[in-house]
Assembly symmetry: C2
Homo-oligomer: 223 residues x 2
DNA sequence: TTTTATTGATTGAGCATTCAATAAAAAATA
DNA sequence: TATTTTTTATTGAATGCTCAATCAATAAAA
């Protein structure tokens, strides 16, 4: 009983079903037929719209990225000042929509897939780099205030940004391990706490921070 | 051309090959035949020794846990005092043997499998709980020194422990994403830095730290 | 009657698992 | 020592199942 204009709805349902299937059956055992059943359609239709299983998985990952980016954008736009924008990142990461067992499972699966699939790797890397770049900028602005670019302290800001991002990722991983409801609030507090201490430390250090120039790379995830 | 007493060597080779295959082919595409080939034996032999593919994967995860535990134990035993024991945990996590792309991939795969396999979940959880428990103890000892149990500050120590563990996990995740050689040294510095600031903060706060008693759970990964 | 939506059967490949056969080493026996 | 028997190690072919992908058929809407 086909109605017209179903494509959009089907695509959305199939993507949601993919996330669900990955969480409940595991990434390897999530079959096209299973995903389609969860979306209330036949396996044939899933492949009709997406072309292949791989394409469906890629589309699902793209959707996760878009969802998170939207959440982030919305919160950043209402935030006043760099400190609030850092909190926006944290808040978005642990928002009810994102910090869900199903979503976390799917993210994990895609991190794993990125090990072997170059396209997945590229997408994740672009996102991660943008996030680090944003956070670095906010940290830097937070410490130097209205002062023009010091050029120094940029490294400290970058380290703070990487620490913040790593902390968020780590808390997501722990979420994947937690049986019951692992609290978003305490996760947020933990990261906010980290941010506070980083800012304090940077402010105390002032511009006399040329003491860790032993290694040139300095960053964890640079390329 | 069978030699006698091969079982041990074969088992070890097959487990190493499993890690390698997961990294290079992906968790889903790592077939028994492929793993066996990397270990230089036939697929039949792999199943002869391990019984099933699932059992081989479980054995591999067990081995990863044992390896990390050994490294940890060795470093803890030569460490003097709580602060050095915390560094031992950090050092072990980023030791050349552990902080390897292949090993990280395998860990990721097992975190994912833990979502659907209760036994895997149990093993990971036990390990994680022990780690948090150890770190909490060390942080607490570090702040209170020889002072008898204050009962207070335990929560702060636990939060510091969870933050440290999350930070380590997050840096592992970033490693999974990094193309080139992501530096262990800078990762270590990042975590050590975090530890230092946590200790400082706890010392400054002293025993007047009854200000965050709003939520009773407080922990991220408790069960 | 053309387009859009949808299904269910079919196909063909890939894979875990089984098993009978083989061959070297070790043990037992002559 | 020489020969047979048992044990251990190992393979490669055969089996049967699952699953992604294809496709012809169908049915509602335009």
């Amino acid at each position: 009983m086909p109605k017209i204009g179903m494509e959009g709805a089907r695509r959305r349902a199939l993507i949601a079903a993919t996330v669900e299937a990955i969480h409940e059956r595991g990434f390897c055992d999530a079959t096209v037929a299973d995903i389609a059943r969860r979306a209330g359609v036949s396996g044939g239709l899933a492949l009709h719209y997406f072309g292949s299983k791989k394409a469906l998985l890629t589309a699902t990952m793209g959707h996760l990225l878009i969802d998170l980016s939207k959440e982030l954008k919305a919160r950043r736009e209402t935030a006043l000042g760099p400190r609030a924008r850092i909190s926006a990142v944290i808040g978005a990461s642990f928002s009810p929509d994102q910090f869900q067992a199903q979503v976390v499972s799917a993210w994990l699966a895609f991190y794993l897939q990125a090990q072997t699939d170059p396209e997945t790797q590229r997408l994740l890397r672009v996102y991660h780099r943008r996030l680090i770049s944003n956070l670095t900028h906010e940290f830097h602005a937070l410490v130097t205030g209205g002062t023009p670019q010091t050029g120094r302290g940029r490294r400290a800001a970058r380290r703070a940004a990487e620490g913040t991002a790593a902390l968020i990722d780590g808390l997501w991983l722990q979420r994947a391990l937690a049986r019951g409801v692992s609290d978003a609030r305490s996760a947020i507090r933990l990261v906010e706490d980290y941010v506070e201490r980083q800012v304090e430390a940077a402010r105390c250090a002032g511009d006399a921070d040329a003491d860790d120039a032993d290694t040139d790379s300095g960053t964890v995830s640079d390329m």
